[in-house]
Symmetry: C3
Subunit: 340 residues, 3 copies
């Protein structure tokens, strides 16, 4: 593969400082790059690495050209441009269309042109797998499920019956889409299961991380809109709706029937209670629990950073005596009043 710097500059709208005919074959980090590698500079913490890089070319902003000892591709957003160039230099292996001998495909399933069904995969009755899909080893597509064109189930993915997934999605290993939501009604003797009869509807260009779980709706569907990015080990409960282009980091949990707006960003280990609405363009800090509607865009948080355990324990003890402290202040105020 590989590309010339001139080609890259033209294709990705960069200003080239250097020889247009020089070529790069692959990407590398600033510190590990050698001749033939393209690197990028986006984090000022790595300026020393930039100054000594052996890369053939670095993608960076105009302000940083002076620190670059090699050729440069200058652009407004080096990380974004890097992402696109990396996709060009390192394309995915082409699919091998067809069904592996060990896979099990129901007679009533429809497979699109160019789709690859890999070893040990199972495709259920009346399901549809789109064109150029990849259904990886050990993955399961349930009865009546529909997988849009160009979507990939990487390995050991579970898509339960009736789930609808859009185009160009990537489902990473071990994720489960369409398991029953957690619906239980109390009776005198314990719990009665509430049948989970809804589905899951996932838009186009969605990415779902390894071992993440997205439950089917109780009656209506759980909905993930276009362009949503979900990291690993996330829980999306029944009847949640997640708006376009929202990104959620690992280990976050969204409880049932909650709606999250568009372009939100949730850091890791956030928890959102059920039946609330978070508006568009909200950012939630790490390990923060959201208990009420959020109706204004902005940055919300509620977690304490780690401290030396001795200091922390003293603070917690103080916190537990806040009532007493407040009462002491009130008493002082009253005495003050008497004196004045």
């Amino acid at each position: 593969m590989g590309a010339s710097l001139g080609e890259l500059a033209t294709r990705f709208g960069c200003e080239l400082h250097g020889e247009p005919d020089a070529r790069v074959e692959r990407v590398a980090t600033l510190g590990n790059a050698v001749r033939g590698c393209l690197s990028f500079f986006a984090n000022p913490a790595y300026r020393e690495l930039l100054r000594h890089t052996q890369a053939s070319v670095v993608v960076l902003q105009a302000a940083d050209v002076a620190d670059c000892p090699v050729a440069a591709l200058v652009c407004g957003d080096p990380y974004l441009t890097y992402a696109r160039i990396a996709g060009l230099l390192h394309p995915r292996a082409a699919l091998v269309a067809g069904v592996h001998a060990s896979a099990v495909v129901a007679a009533s399933a429809t497979l699109g042109r160019g789709a690859q069904i890999d070893a040990q995969a199972v495709i259920g009755k009346d399901s549809m797998v789109g064109e150029d899909c990849y259904i990886g080893p050990g993955s399961f597509v349930g009865d009546g499920a529909r997988i849009g064109d160009g979507t990939r189930l990487e390995a050991r993915v579970t898509v339960m019956h009736g789930v609808v997934i859009g185009r160009r999605c990537i489902l990473h290993p071990g994720c489960v889409v369409g398991a029953d939501g957690f619906g239980n009604a109390r009776d005198a003797d314990g719990w009665v299961k509430v049948p989970q009869l809804g589905g899951v509807s996932i838009g186009d260009d969605v990415e779902i991380g390894a071992n993440t779980t997205i439950d089917r709706g109780a009656i209506d569907d759980t909905v993930i809109e276009n362009g949503v990015r979900l990291d690993n080990l996330i829980q999306i409960a029944h009847n949640v709706r997640i708006g376009e282009h929202t990104a959620i980091a690992s280990m976050s949990g969204i409880s049932g029937s909650t709606t999250i707006g568009k372009r939100c960003m949730l850091a890791g280990q956030t928890g959102i209670v059920g039946h609330i609405t978070i508006c568009d363009d909200v950012v939630i800090g790490g390990a923060t629990m959201v208990t009420k509607d959020i109706s204004a865009p902005g940055f919300y948080t509620a977690s304490f950073p780690a401290e030396n355990n001795r200091d922390w324990k003293r603070r917690v003890a103080r916190f537990r005596r806040l009532d007493e402290l407040a009462k002491r202040v009130t008493r002082l105020e009253k005495m003050k009043g008497k004196h004045d």
Copy 2:
């Protein structure tokens, strides 16, 4: 399928307001219901939807009949009654008894009458699968494991060797029962693995969520009693015991050798440390860590709700100066003393 309103009223002990011969075919939400649908009203927030519903009948309490423009099935607990009616109107597809050609069943395994072993499942030596069990695609039942009558392993479930599971349980995709507990003894050079020699014993009518993990005991068994409900992505460590009808929401973790009582409810992302005992009828709030025994029923919590990040940071700064604030109050008190 379908049922007449008169039939439903009789069977589920409701008072019918409406035509006994009218029929419903399926359930729907108040807002999306059309003719032929049954809906329910249990959350006052949806009263406007009730007033405009197109459902054929709504399950509700007597106090809400006046707001219902259509037929009503009146009962004490609409959600519970709805759950039962939904189970009747939407029964599970019947099992197809037998072993799929792609499944692998050890010669020494015992399969009960009516059991279905689906595609790519693996059933180990000397294991027992009960009557009318469903072992879903890609699921694994280890050597010597026992699965009670009517239990379902939905898809890609792992049940390790020797695990015992009761009757009518549902194990959702990706859950793992009986992996080794986290047992490590320190030696001069690092860690020595402590063999995990116990099993897991799961009662009847237990539900285990997608990608939840329940470890085998170190020596004795890990025990999940009858009727327990576990949501997705939960961790149950070795030698934990969970009492009957306790329900635990997603992403909660119970550390080793802890005992949780009966009828407890743990919200999402709770963490319970090891070697403690929580009594019956305890409710734990979301994202709360429990570090000590709880010996009185009640509601326990310890998490802060999200706030605007600027406000939150100011509060954290104040929290960090609590020591100083307390000292200032003490100084004021002393000066006061001098003056008095």
Copy 3:
């Protein structure tokens, strides 16, 4: 199997109080042991059980011999010695070398002598599986991956393409090694996927818990050093490095490009932000979030223990009025100043 007490004393360096020819067949807890069982005493909370144990022998420290009614194997660290004896009395079943008829092994894969590839496993092209490896049911080894001698993939494990795993590791069911890291660059219309081109390098004697996920690096590798122990449902993001013999409990998450030192211990549900460094010999308390570098060994924490909900809510209300309280104290100080 079984062993005589004399044999055990010699082999594990214990002082024997009792008959050297007496034999034990298996391990048991102090409370459940019967004749023929070996038990251990390491937690003072169980002293009463020690006093009444029916075990044939107990592994314990010299100080506890007086409370032991049966034979004793005296040593400095009973838990460690127990771990080793348990490994001797309860060895793993021997492997059955060879490839199960239902497994799929690429022609270009290399299988070491004595390796067992169990039912429904899939071994990719150009991969290497070492000697005496066990690749459990439904596990997947991607193209070009390398699994070191004596390593076990218990069941339904996913090892993606190019991942390198050392010797004598144990990967528990459902874990995923080498899925794409969470790399997204923003553009005007949403997110552009940043290709995840690095690998994962795992040392020797590493244990990875059930449903834990370890992402491949973005450009360079994610690295887990020798002897690391990871519990269930842990997230290790791209380009994390975890130092030798560090142990991490369940549900912890390590964000991208963070380095954790050697011999650290992280309790359950900890969260470590990205791009920071934690030095050797650090202990992090449960449910604690670490937001900055830690450069001194020690114990760090930041979580509140559960309380009665009414008390907790009152404290949170006080916390929210800390600003006001501080202002009241300042006002008192000023008035004081006026008076003095």
